[in-house]
C-alpha cells in the first residue's frame, strides 16, 4: 500500500497525426499537474485537497476542455460543470452552468463543505460562488480561438449530416460529396475531447476524485453531462475513486463511475478488471475512458476511444504519461 494518483485531460478521437504544437504543450501540462499532485501527496496532503489542486491546474490550462479552454455551447457561450467526492465519508459536491467562476471544482468543493446540499446549478451556483468570494471573471475569459473554430466545425458537420440524410442512397455517392461528408463529420478529430479529472489515494487508503468540464461542443444551452452526476462521471467510496470522460450521454446511461466500484464491491473484481469491464462492455466503443485508484494504491486508466490524455504515478516509483494506447494494449 502507498499513495497513488491518476489524472486525465479527456478521452476522444485524438488523431495520431496530432501536430507537435498541439501535443507537446498538453503532455507538458500533464507532466506538470502530475508532479503537483505527487508533491502534495508526498507532503501528506489529503486526497481531497490533492484532486482539487490538480483539477484547478487543469482548468486553468487553456488546451483542456475545462475552465479556460472549455468548449462552447451552440450559442457560443461557456457553461462549466464540476464534481468532487470523498471516498471515506461519501460526501460530495457538484455544480453546473457556471459562466464566470474561474475554478468550477472549487465551487463544487464549497457546495460539499459549506451547504447541506450536494448539487447547485446555474444562477443559484453562480450566486453561491459570489457569496463565498470565489474568483469570477468576464465570461469571455474562458473562450479560446481553438474552441471558436471547433464550434464552427461542429455546426458545419451538423449541416452536412443533414444534407447527407437527404442524399439518395440508391445512387452511389459522388466522390466529392462523400469526402465532404467525411471531412466535415471527422473534423479535426479532437472535437470529441471532454473533461479533466483527477483521482488520488493516500497511504491510509483515503480516496478522492474530482472532474471538471466545459461539456460537449455545440451542446444545447443548459445541457448537463455526466461530470456532475454522482455515479456517472464521478464517484468514490471506500473501494476506489473514479473520474470518467467521454460522451456524457453514454457515461450517464452506464453509470460508469459507480459501476467500477460496484463490480469491486459486489462481484469481487479487482480495480483493473472492474474498470476494463465497464469501459469494454458497458459503453459503446469510442465513447469513454476513465482513471481510477483503489484503496490499496493501485491505478488504472482504461479507454475505448482513439486516445486519452492521461498521467499517473504510484508511491513505488511507477509513472506513466500518455495519449494513445501503449504497445501492450
Amino acid at each position: 500500500m502507498g499513495w497513488a494518483i491518476a489524472l486525465h485531460g479527456g478521452a476522444g478521437d485524438i488523431p495520431r497525426s496530432l501536430s507537435p504544437d498541439r501535443r507537446l504543450p498538453r503532455e507538458a501540462a500533464l507532466r506538470h499537474c502530475l508532479q503537483l499532485g505527487v508533491s502534495a501527496l508526498q507532503s501528506h496532503a489529503h486526497p481531497l485537497d490533492v484532486v482539487e489542486l490538480v483539477v484547478r491546474e487543469l482548468e486553468n490550462h487553456p488546451q483542456f476542455n475545462a475552465g479556460k479552454g472549455s468548449v462552447l455551447t451552440t450559442d457560443g457561450t461557456v457553461e462549466m460543470e464540476a464534481c468532487i467526492m470523498d471516498g471515506k465519508t461519501m460526501r460530495c459536491g457538484a455544480v453546473s452552468g457556471l459562466t464566470t467562476v474561474v475554478n468550477a471544482v472549487s465551487v463544487a468543493r464549497l457546495v460539499m463543505d459549506k451547504t447541506p446540499h450536494i448539487y447547485l446549478g446555474f444562477q443559484g451556483a453562480e450566486a453561491f460562488a459570489r457569496e463565498h468570494g470565489l474568483e469570477t471573471v468576464d465570461p469571455s475569459h474562458f473562450i479560446t480561438p481553438e474552441n471558436i473554430e471547433r464550434l464552427k466545425q461542429a455546426k458545419e458537420a451538423n449541416r452536412v449530416q443533414v444534407i447527407a440524410q437527404q442524399i439518395d442512397y440508391t445512387q452511389p455517392i459522388k466522390q466529392d460529396e462523400k469526402s465532404e461528408v467525411l471531412a466535415a463529420t471527422g473534423g479535426s478529430g479532437d472535437s470529441q475531447i471532454g473533461t479533466v479529472g483527477c483521482v488520488a489515494v493516500d497511504r491510509d487508503g483515503n480516496l478522492a476524485t474530482a472532474t471538471s468540464t466545459g461539456g460537449l461542443v455545440n451542446k444545447m444551452v443548459g445541457r448537463i453531462g455526466d461530470t456532475p452526476v454522482i455515479g456517472a462521471g464521478t464517484y468514490a467510496n471506500s473501494y476506489c475513486a473514479v473520474s470518467a470522460t467521454g460522451r456524457g450521454e453514454a457515461v450517464i446511461r452506464a453509470t460508469v463511475a459507480r459501476d467500477v466500484a460496484a463490480l469491486m464491491e459486489y462481484k469481487g473484481l479487482s480495480l483493473q478488471e472492474a474498470a476494463a469491464y465497464v469501459v469494454g462492455e458497458r459503453v459503446p466503443q469510442g465513447t469513454a475512458g476513465l482513471v481510477a485508484v483503489s484503496a490499496s494504491g493501485e491505478v488504472t486508466m482504461p479507454f475505448n476511444t482513439t486516445g486519452m490524455f492521461r498521467a499517473c504515478a504510484t508511491e513505488d516509483g511507477y509513472t506513466e504519461i500518455g495519449i494513445w494506447p501503449t504497445e501492450q494494449e
Binding site: 446555474f122 460537449l216 452526476v229 455515479g231 450521454e249 453509470t255 459486489y266
Partner: protein
Amino acid sequence: MGGWAIAVHGGAGVDPNLPLQRQEEAKRLLTRCLKLGISALRSNLPAIDVVELVVRELESDPLFNSGRGSALTEKGTVEMEASIMDGTKRRCGAVSGVTTVKNPVSLARLVMDKSPHSYLAFSGAEDFARQQGVEMVENDYFITEENVGMLKLAKEANSIMFDYRIPLPSTCSAGAAAANNPIRMNGLPISVYAPETVGCTVVDRQGRCAAATSTGGLMNKKIGRIGDSPLIGSGTYAGKLCGVSCTGEGEAIIRATLARDVAAVMEYKGLGLQAAVDFVIKERLDEGKAGLIAVSNKGEVACGFNANGMFRGCATEDGFMEVGIW
C-alpha cells in the same frame, strides 16, 4: 411469474400527525393513479408510456410535491425536476430548474426522445420546452396556499434550529411542531419537510421495465439546488432486470446511488428483487432516510423504506393490489 407489474409512490417520510383526512386523500390519489396505470398496461401500452402517464397524473394533482403543489424555494418560487428511463436500451431523459412547464416528466421524456442529450436544465430546458410546444404556464400555477404556509414554517424552523439560546415560544407553531415531533428529515421537522416526491415504475407484459420520478424538491431549498430525482442512478433507474424510483432525503439517495444499486446488486450479486431492495435500504443509506419502489422484468413488485412511512401503491397482473402509507 411474468405479466405486468406497477408501483407508484408519493414520497417517503410521513408526518405521524398527518390528519386522517389527508391520509385518505393520499390513498385515493394513489389508487386512482394505480388504476390509470393498470388500465394502460391492460391495453398493452409500453412501460415507458405508462410511467409517463402516471407521473403526469401525480404532477397535475396538487396533493404531492411535484408539478402543481411543489415545495417552494427559499424565494417562494417553484423549481421542478424530473427524470425518466427506459430499461430496454437504458435511454434516459432528465430536466431540472423547470419553472413554467406544466408536466416536467413529459419534458424529460422529450429530452430523451427529441434531443441529442440526456439532461437539460434551467433556461436551456425552458427554451427546449418552448421549441417543442409543450404546455407552459405561469410559475404561480404550481404554488399552493398550503405550501406558502409550509415555507414560512420551514424558515422559522431553520432559524430556531440555529439559535439554541432562545427558548422556543409556545405560540410558535414550528417550535411546537418540533417539540412534539422529533422526526426531522433534511434538517426540517417532518411536518414541514414536504417529502412527497412522486414516482412510478412499471414492467409491461413484454418484460420491459421503465421508471420515472418528479419533484419540486426540498422545502426552502436554495435557488438552483438539484436533488436526486433528476439524477439517473440516484432517484431513477431502469435496465433489463428492473425499474426503480426513489424518494426521501435527496442527498442521502445521491450518495447511495440508490436506484442504480438495486439493479447493480441484482446484476452483480445475483439477488432477487425484494432481496436487492432490502439490501440497499439496509446497507446503503446509513443515517439517511429514504424509500423506493421497484419492479423486475419477471413481473414482481417490491418496495422498501427506512423512513417512518412512504405513500405507495402497487399491483401485479395476477390480481395483487395494495395501497399504503405506514
